[in-house]
């Protein structure tokens, strides 16, 4: 057997955004190493010096892990700059706080290989807390996908395997809506390629105080709305329809007494 296979580009490049002190990065990378397919490489994309320091130590112990460049980019630009260097046929994003199920890449790859016209496959996900405890199914991911439905609900995430050609044709990650770069990308992909859904929970999204959806929830809502408005204009729907954003909120008062007590009000 020649060693030609060792010289080929891995089939999948996994982009791994790393933020802050990267306290969950080890677990995220362990879940990547546990994948049932081995034809992958990972590009760690730190934003901030502390994240870079932690990420660097990981790349010294595993030759499949690489730093995305030598410069520390702002979070809004890190994924785009890393993706620009990708030579693999497929790419995906594993957030440095989150976890993959061991068959995640294999199942999404199967879905894309069974649908050669599809440019992206996405799965369901579950939410976990800082300690890994289950919080429940991920919101929205059970809603049926269509390019039109995606305007209203962001159901295509957070785990997606994307053909690199489709990614580039759609314009890749962009910094136009910094707190909604994944939603903005999915909207543009939905306008240029077909998307398939794998109805299995293959990803564990960690919810903790520093997670973007907790720490920057309001900025995320505004940025997703702006990405939605931009998509409506791109699609020419703005000639006949107006965009609006409805925001509902509620406070949940929960008893801290043992056995729940009786004082839970929404």
């Amino acid at each position: 057997m020649s060693n030609v296979t060792l010289m080929t580009v891995p089939l999948i490049t996994v982009l791994v955004p790393v933020r802050d002190d990267a306290m969950f990065l080890q677990a995220a990378l362990d879940s990547l190493r546990a994948q049932s397919i081995i034809d992958w490489t990972a590009l760690l994309c730190p934003s901030g010096d502390a994240a870079r320091a932690v990420a660097s130590t990981q790349t010294t112990t595993d030759s499949r892990l690489h730093m995305a460049g030598t410069k520390t980019w702002a979070e809004r630009d890190a994924l785009a700059n890393a993706a620009a260097t990708v030579e693999s046929e497929f790419l995906c994003v594993l957030d440095g706080d989150d976890l993959l199920e061991s068959n995640a890449l294999a199942m999404l790859l199967d879905a894309l290989q069974a649908n050669p016209a599809a440019g992206m496959a996405y799965s369901r996900h579950v939410l976990i807390d800082a300690n890994g405890g289950a919080l429940g199914p991920g919101p929205l991911c059970e809603l049926p996908y269509s390019p039109q439905a995606l305007l209203l609900d962001f159901m295509t995430g957070p785990l997606r395997l994307i053909r690199t050609t489709a990614y580039r044709e759609a314009g890749g990650h962009q910094g136009t809506h910094p707190d909604a770069i994944e939603y903005d990308l999915c909207l543009r992909l939905s306008e240029t390629t077909s998307i398939v859904h794998v109805a299995h929970a293959l990803y564990r999204r960690r919810i903790h105080p520093l997670a973007p959806e907790v720490a920057r929830w309001a900025e995320g809502i505004e940025a997703r709305y702006n990405a939605f408005v931009a998509a409506v204009k791109r699609r020419g729907i703005d000639a006949t329809h107006d965009c609006a954003l409805h925001i509902d909120s509620w406070h949940i008062l929960q008893s801290l007494r043992p056995f729940g007590g009786t004082g839970n009000w929404r």
Partner: protein, 258 residues
């Protein structure tokens, strides 16, 4: 001697709706009121409308410093001038039913232990047509439930001494000033509910920006958390915030503006 009611009316660029609001005061079947108008630096002629009402009826007074200071500042400063036994607020794009003051006053007089009372409200379209009965008052009031939901919505009538005892409106609390005041009142006095629709709340397409609405959500949660601390309940209860944002695509409406 009949009770005097002081009504704060903060005004900012509501020239289209202001006459309806002020006319609804003139139409009250309880005549002993003073209207404390605050022009918050309007640029659409609202200030001139307000001054016109001052000329027409001595019960109107107008304040302002020519700057835009925000609603809480306007409310705190106008109600600091109040002479009434009771205080309340009428937003300058909303409308009171003709018996709003008399009905609330009678309810408060029949229940002397109450420091504040609130009624039902209806939602009206921008042009003033009835849209629907409001919903937030459907949640029964209790001081504890108020931490989770803002059911003490308009129309509210507050005894002046209760308002003053809790420090009145906090000029530094932005979009959640009403909720913050109600939380403090709920810790100080009893609150009653009069199940009559006495207030018409105008649903305006441009009434609040997304950024303001998001700040309102955030500052309301902050107000509830402060209340939890004030009440010494932080060891017994945890408060968390749920938010759902929906993108909506609606067919364009024909432009009804002239």
């Amino acid at each position: 001697m009949p009770a005097l009611i002081s009504i704060a009316v903060p005004i900012y660029n509501t020239a289209r709706f202001l006459p309806a609001a002020l006319n609804s005061l003139l139409a009250q079947d309880h005549a002993d009121w003073e209207a404390l108008l605050w022009d918050d630096g309007s640029t659409d002629g609202s200030g001139a409308i307000a001054r016109d009402y001052v000329r027409r009826d001595a019960r109107f007074r107008v304040f302002g410093n020519g700057c835009q200071n925000g609603n809480p500042y306007a409310l705190a400063n106008t109600l600091a001038q109040a002479l009434g036994d009771f205080v309340c607020v009428l937003d300058s794009d909303d409308v009171l039913e003709p018996n709003a003051l008399s009905a609330m006053l009678q309810f408060m007089q029949e229940n002397p232990g109450l420091g504040m009372a609130y009624s039902q409200h209806v939602e009206i379209q921008e042009a003033g047509d009835f849209l629907r009965l409001g919903t937030c008052f459907q949640t029964p009031y209790s001081p504890q439930r108020l931490l989770a939901e803002f059911m003490t919505y308009q129309f509210r009538l507050i005894r002046a001494h209760a308002y003053q005892a809790v420090g009145g409106y906090d000029a530094n609390v932005d979009e959640s000033a009403d909720y913050d005041l109600c939380l403090r009142l709920s810790e100080h006095c009893r609150v009653g509910y009069l199940p009559q629709p006495l207030y018409r709340y105008r649903m305006r397409r441009d009434s609040i920006s997304h950024a303001s609405r998001l700040r309102q959500v955030r500052t309301s949660f902050d107000a509830a958390q402060r209340a939890l601390q004030r009440r010494g309940l932080q060891g017994q209860y945890a408060l968390s915030l749920g938010v759902r944002a929906r993108h909506v695509l609606q067919p364009k409406q024909p432009d009804t503006e002239a």
